[in-house]
Amino acid sequence: MKFLKRFTFIALATSLFVAPGCKKDGDDGTDLAKLSLEFAFKVGSEDLVFGDNYEINGKMVNFEAANYYIGGLKMTQEDGTTIDLSQNYLLAGLGNSANVQGELQLSNLVTTSFFVGVDAATNMQTETDFTARPSGDPLGVQDPAMHWNWMTGYKFLRIDGSVDTDADGMPDTPIAYHLGSAAMLKNLEFNQTITIKGGDNTLTFELDVEKFFTGVDLAVEVDTHTGNNLPLAERLRDNLETSLTIN
C-alpha cells in the first residue's frame, strides 16, 4: 500500500470535482475525476420496480422495500492508494446514491471491501441512538424504518413485499426479511478492476434479489426478523456472497 487517504461521502447527488494527485501523460485534457456510488436492485436480468410482480423460485412475488447498510468501505487502487471510507455508512436503496469527496487518483480500483451491516458499537447505540442523529444521517430515522423498535439496534438489511401463496396470481401474503445483530454482519471483498478515468466514474453496488432468495420458498418462509428465525436469516446473510456484486 502506497499511502492511505481520508475520504468522506456526500450522500446526495451533488456534483463535486476533485483535483487528481497526478496527471497522466497523453491525457486529452480531462484531468479531474469524481466517483459516484450507486445502488442497483435487480430480479435476475430485470430492474426491480416496487409493486411489479416477479416469479422467484416458482412463486409470484412483489416488493415494497429493499434497503441495506454498507459500512467499512475501502477501495484500493492499482497504484497502491487506499480510499478509506470506513468511518461512514451508506444506506443502499432504490434512488439513493452518494458522491465521494476527496482527492482521487487516476488509477483503477482493484480491490473493494465493505460489510453489509452496522458495527457492534454503533449498533448498540449506547452513546448515540438513531433518534439523536441529524436528518440526512443514514443511521438516523428512516422511512421505511431501518431501526428495530422491539430491540435496540439496526436492521442491517430489509426486504419487504408480498407473495402469492394460493396460486391465484395475486401476491397478497406479506413477506418481511429483516437481518440484524452482530451475527448478521457480512464482510465482502471484491478483487476486480473498476476503471477510474478522468471525469465521471460510477461504482455500482448491485443486489440481485432473485439470487438473494436462493433456496428460499417465499410462500412458506415468509419472514425472518432474525431472532425469530435465525436459520433463515443465516441463509440469507450467506446468500449475499453471490447476490451482491459491484461493477
Binding site: 433518534t131 430515522v141 422511512d143 424504518a145 430491540m151 432474525t226 431472532g227
Partner: protein, 315 residues
C-alpha cells in the same frame, strides 16, 4: 444520577427504602418534558387511526396494566405479550419482557410502531404532530426541537419515570409500622421469604423483582422465545424478565402471555413446578406444597403489595 434537589421536586413521596431514580444525563427531568410526555401519553393521535393512546393498554384502574391476556391493537390484532404495569418502570435497565430495548428513552417506540399495537411509524407521527401548534411549542420548550422521534420517545420516557408505586401496606411495614400488615399477611411474608418457597430468589427487594431474566417452567416449548429472541442463545429460550410483584393483585392476567387468569392459578403453577417438563426452567424454582392456610397467608401478603394510589386515574 439525579440530585437530591430533583428527587425532592419530582419524586417527593419515594420512601427511603426505594432505590434512587436514575435519570440519563441527556434527558434531564423538568416540568416541560413531563408536560409533553403526559400530553402524548393521553393522546390517541399517536396511533395510526387515532383510536388508541397509552391508556388503552395501561389502565389506571389496574395499576397501569391491561386486563386482557394480550392487548388489542389498531387492527384488532393481539399484541405479542401481556401489557405490564408501567409503575416503577424508571428502574428498568433493559426494557420489555425480553430486555430487547436497552434504555427507557427508546421504549415508547415499541408500542407506537408495532403493527399489532399502534402501528404508526415514528416518522409519520412526527409529521402528524408538526401540524399541531401545541405540540410544536411543547417540543421546542422541552427539547428545543420539533416533536420528532427524539422528543417523542424521550418525553414519554420522562413522564413514565414519574410513575411510582411505593405506598403499599408493605412499604409502611418496611418503614416501621408493624400494624401495616395484618397477622395473616405477616405470615405470608415469612412464607414468601422462606428458603422452602424461595420466592425471593426472583422477587426480591423493594421493587419485588431482581429484574433478571428467568424461565419459570411455564411451557416445555415456547412459541415466544423471550430473551432468546434478543440474545439468539438457545439457553435463553423461554426466559422473560422477572416482573415486579408490586400491585400484583390488580394486574391479572399473569405470565408473559397472560395465560394464567388469576393469582390462584399462579400459585397452582408454582406448587406443581415439579411436574413441569420445561428443560430450561430456572434452578431457583422449588418444589413445595401449600396448606390452605399457607395459601391464604401468601395471598394476603401479595395483596399487601397494592399501592394505595395504584387505582388512581390522576396521573
Amino acid at each position: 444520577m439525579m440530585g437530591c434537589k430533583e428527587e425532592a421536586v419530582f419524586f417527593p413521596d419515594l420512601p427511603a427504602h426505594f432505590p434512587k431514580v436514575i435519570i440519563p444525563e441527556d434527558n434531564a427531568i423538568n416540568q416541560a418534558r413531563i408536560a409533553l410526555g403526559r400530553k402524548l401519553f393521553f393522546d390517541p393521535n399517536i396511533s395510526l387511526d387515532s383510536s388508541m393512546s397509552c391508556l388503552s393498554c395501561h389502565l389506571p384502574e389496574f395499576a397501569l396494566a391491561d386486563t386482557l391476556p394480550r392487548s388489542l391493537g389498531v387492527h384488532g390484532q393481539k399484541g405479542l405479550r401481556n401489557a405490564p404495569s408501567l409503575y416503577n418502570a424508571a428502574y428498568l435497565d433493559l426494557i420489555n419482557k425480553d430486555g430487547g430495548v436497552t434504555k427507557l428513552d427508546l421504549q415508547a417506540l415499541v408500542p407506537i410502531e408495532d403493527e399489532n399495537e399502534m402501528a404508526l411509524p415514528i416518522v409519520r407521527l412526527h409529521q402528524r404532530l408538526l401540524k399541531d401548534p401545541d405540540y410544536v411549542a411543547l417540543a421546542r420548550e422541552a427539547y428545543d426541537r420539533e416533536p420528532d422521534a427524539y422528543a417523542i420517545s424521550r418525553a414519554l420516557a420522562t413522564f413514565v419515570r414519574t410513575l411510582h408505586s411505593a405506598d403499599a401496606p408493605y412499604d409502611r411495614f418496611l418503614q416501621g409500622d408493624s400494624t401495616a400488615l395484618s397477622s395473616l399477611a405477616r405470615q405470608g411474608l415469612q412464607l414468601f421469604s422462606s428458603d422452602r418457597l424461595n420466592c425471593t430468589g426472583c422477587h426480591s427487594g423493594p421493587l419485588q423483582t431482581s429484574n433478571d431474566f428467568a424461565n419459570n417452567g411455564l411451557y416445555k416449548s415456547y412459541a415466544d422465545l423471550g430473551r432468546g429472541l434478543i440474545t439468539m442463545d438457545s439457553s435463553d429460550h423461554g426466559k422473560f424478565r422477572i416482573p415486579s410483584l408490586r400491585n400484583v393483585a390488580l394486574t391479572a392476567p399473569y405470565m408473559h402471555d397472560g395465560s394464567l387468569s388469576n393469582l390462584a392459578a399462579v400459585l397452582d403453577h408454582y406448587e406443581n413446578i415439579n411436574l413441569s417438563t420445561a428443560p430450561l426452567k430456572s434452578a431457583k424454582l422449588r418444589s413445595f406444597q401449600l396448606t390452605p392456610s399457607e395459601r391464604e397467608s401468601l395471598m394476603a401478603f401479595l395483596h399487601a403489595l397494592t399501592g394505595d394510589e395504584s387505582r388512581s386515574t390522576d396521573l
